[in-house]
Symmetry: D2
Subunit: 93 residues, 4 copies
């Protein structure tokens, strides 16, 4: 069981759709489609990936971090540091 298990099917469906978007980008470049149209699709794929990461962070806090906090101690501290580092990477990317 992971923090995201409850919405696992939803995440898998979203990732399949993103995979389709990336294949669509490949096809657009193969067919020499207009640069700006390719860029618009890249923005859409990037936002879709962000949406998945935002859900995962939420569920990670709600389950994994929450449980570690209930137990308290050093593990709880570690879990928060780990989550903060992941958030920092997302904010900076």
């Amino acid at each position: 069981m992971r923090g995201y298990s409850e919405h696992k099917d939803d995440h898998l469906r979203r990732l399949r759709r993103i995979e389709g978007q990336i294949r669509g980008l490949h096809r657009m470049i193969e067919n020499d489609e207009y640069c700006i149209d390719v860029l618009t699709q890249i923005t859409a794929a990037t936002r879709a990936l962000q949406a998945v990461s935002i859900s995962l962070i939420d569920e990670h806090l709600r389950h994994c971090v929450s449980e570690a906090m209930a137990e308290g101690g050093a593990l709880a501290e570690e879990k928060i540091t780990e989550a903060s580092n992941a958030i920092a990477r997302l904010v900076r990317s």
Copy 2:
């Protein structure tokens, strides 16, 4: 007391420095400095603001959310939703 109280002076110092960066940007444009140099400074100020927000999120999780979780119940849920929404705004900005 807030999540960030322990590092309050550090945050205040960082914000003063960012205020100085913004005033520096104002001066650069007033003096007609080169566009690309202005852009480089904007990137630096944006990253400095991100660094403050990443610290605040970390301390918010470590204190406010942590305490709400220790009490449990609806308040804990609410605090996580609120934190996730703040994280989402940062990731998307």
Copy 3:
């Protein structure tokens, strides 16, 4: 011919690799891998997409916008507005 034609193979190769990263993400969630490891991979895929978009913008300026500017007039203005809007979408995403 498009702005990116000269590096078309390179872009196609990069997109194939990103498609592989997305499939890898799907597999990670299917196998219930740890949330933070999934998030790290999402950050990597997002950055890889950004790198493609940065190359496309560069080549678009270097070729499409450059040619429109050589002809001048309203078309050049339009091309710059279009490029600026695409850049704005990338910066905000």
Copy 4:
């Protein structure tokens, strides 16, 4: 004269407003205001800075890069490389 000269007053006004936002952030932390409210204001200031940078990029392309392209040659190439690098820094920040 710079690319942004035509809208110089507008940029200066916007930067003054952002300086006010940063001072507001300083005051919020000084007054121990709620972490999430501080984060919301940081997001607003970051977006305001992004808006300035997007305008500057647009005007830089429209004037500086455009003029270099009209002259052509190595300088035009250099100007595009320089602009692309600035765009890359903004997209990644």
